[in-house]
Amino acid sequence: MTTTSVRRGRGVSSWAVLASLVLLAVVMLLPLAVVVFNAFKTPAEYSANGPLALPQGLNLDGITEFWERVDFGQKLWNSVLISGSVAVLAVVVSVLNAYALGIGRIRGRLWVLVLFLVANTLPQEALVYPIYYLWKQLGLYDTRFGVIVVFTIIQAAFGTYLLSSVFSTFPRELLDAARIDGASKWQVLVRVVVPISAPTLAVLVVFFFIWTWNEFFLPLVLLISNDTQTVPVALGVLQGQRLMDATTTSASALLGIVPAVAFFLIFQRTLTRGITAGAVK
């Protein structure tokens, strides 16, 4: 899908544009590159050559030391468990909501939608203390389940809003045909609506996973023990204590970036496929 049928020439100006965009890309990547360099240095090497020199070898001490110090494997598992559960549950809740709102067109659906939209735009500061208080009473404080419940509805609020508009343009003939064949509403949902909108749902799963993975504020408040904290919370708390030297800091940042970049690469295909699928709707 190139813009023009005629391939235009590459004049001086277009090379200049390319050069400035490459420069921009370098600036954007530089901080990440510096982190990678320094994560593999020994503290002695760092203090001798400074942060900008290339590492002389692959020193894994900083990374292993940090990994053991914060029990990073546990943090990683907490993050995967929380983000994965939220991604799946939030999509299920979004689909159910959107089925009632977009296809069922229940009375007052506009107001219900507004309510979900408000839930999505609210600052978490306005919810944090009551949730903190209630979760303590209910025994959900400092549990991964408690955080999963919170983010399931926060993400589903966005999913409901998006899917309702997608479902409202769902081909009516398909729904009517299924009903004439005697399918119940539940069967129509599971056998017709979900399979046909699968690409959009896949994109939502990915978004919810990454968004939940990157959440900081509510997990910071709700998860205080080593056994429940997520990767960003553990890193943020440690950073706040300012106890780490430069190479350990880099190692910790690298360990925080790697999973995010990995998801990005794994999911990139789903995302591009999903975005085009969404555009056709």
Binding site: M1, T2, T3, S5, R8, R10, S14, V17, L18, L21, V22, L24, A25, M28, L29, L32, V34, G50, P51, L52, L96, N97, A100, G104, R105, I106, R107, F116, A119, T121, P123, E125, A126, L127, V128, Y129, P130, I153, A156, A157, T160, S184, K185, L189, I210, W213, F216, F217, V221, P232, V233, L235, G236, Q239, A253, I257, A260, V261, F264, I275
Partner: protein, 319 residues
């Protein structure tokens, strides 16, 4: 739930408005809304109402809250730290909404219009991914990276300045009260830019290439085409980006927590951080709730205003 009738199910409620004639009645579908509605009630609506309630009390978080009416709000409006935190928020809106939108437009247009057509879509995709990468780094991690990059003594930025003979420009980027907010703003531009770029590039796919060809044949310069074709065509995307980025800027917490903790001396404090401090450090829960309530009202008003503006703009185009 068990209705299998092919025709419209009989509606028990008032006669169906004509719009719903093909929808088979609404009531049976209500069942599907139950899990979502329950969660919404327990996790969002109840805490929201409680928070507003708490904002009218004095409470340390233990014992019984004491009703004090509008005391917290009166204190709020005469609290210099609160107003300062909102001024800082304006800076963050510049850094997270205005600058990234403007730069994002230019970058997206250049990627789409110049790189995509003359150097191939693959080159454009790689550059776009590079610009987008900071967006997928967890905010807390981005904060860690930058607080170390900007560290006064052995931070990478100061070392870079020394290495290039600009040692006189080296600063205590996050520790100098006059500079800290600008440093935070710079970090947030870096963090945010990828989002508008990706959205705008996606929006540009919709634009009819014939428009560009016609404009080019008429001898319109790149800037003219940018202002008269690109920008108007992706106006819906611009609206969405400005709205979501502005809201995100008002809610900023993670970068402040990790980069500066609101310091030095409150120079980078924002309302969300102020309310966090009141809740969990100063145990002035009522005051924290009042800050959070004001922030909520502001964000909801802003959202409503933007949506009206957007509706009007779209309506104007159609008529």
């Amino acid at each position: 739930m068990t209705t299998t009738s092919a025709g419209p199910a009989p509606t028990i409620a008032s006669p169906a408005p004509p719009r719903r004639r093909r929808s088979g009645g609404g009531a049976p579908y209500l069942v599907f809304l139950v899990p979502g509605a329950l969660l919404l009630l327990v996790v969002i609506l109840l805490p929201l109402v409680m928070n507003v309630g708490i904002s009218f009390t004095t409470w340390t978080g233990v014992g019984t809250p004491e009703w004090t009416g509008f005391d917290n709000y009166e204190r709020l409006f005469s609290d210099g730290a609160f107003w300062a935190s909102f001024r800082h928020n304006v800076g963050l809106i510049v850094a997270m909404a205005i600058l990234p939108t403007l730069a994002g437009l230019v970058v997206a247009a250049a990627l789409f219009d110049v790189v995509g057509t003359r150097f191939g879509p693959r080159a454009a995709a790689v550059l776009r991914a590079c610009v987008y990468l900071p967006q997928i780094v967890p905010v807390a991690v981005a904060g860690i990276i930058w607080s170390w990059m900007l560290a006064p003594r052995d931070g990478a930025l100061n070392r870079l300045l020394e290495a290039t003979g600009l040692a006189s420009l080296a600063q205590d980027w996050l520790g100098d009260p006059d500079l800290a907010l600008y440093s935070v703003m710079g970090v947030l531009v870096w963090f945010q830019l990828g989002y508008p770029v990706v959205i705008f590039v996606a929006g540009l796919q919709r634009v009819d290439p014939a428009l560009y060809e016609a404009a080019e044949l008429d001898g319109a310069s790149w800037w003219r085409r940018f202002w008269h074709i690109t920008v108007p065509q992706i106006r819906p995307e611009i609206f969405v980006v400005v709205l979501t980025c502005t809201i995100a800027a008002l809610k900023v917490f993670g970068p402040i927590y990790v980069l500066t903790r609101g310091g030095p001396g409150g120079a980078t404090s924002v309302p969300s951080y102020l309310s966090y401090q009141s809740f969990f450090e100063k145990t002035q829960v009522g005051y924290g709730a009042a800050i959070a309530t004001v922030l909520t009202v502001l964000i909801l008003l802003l959202t409503a205003g933007f949506l009206r503006l957007q509706n009007r703009a779209e309506g104007g185009e159609r008529s």
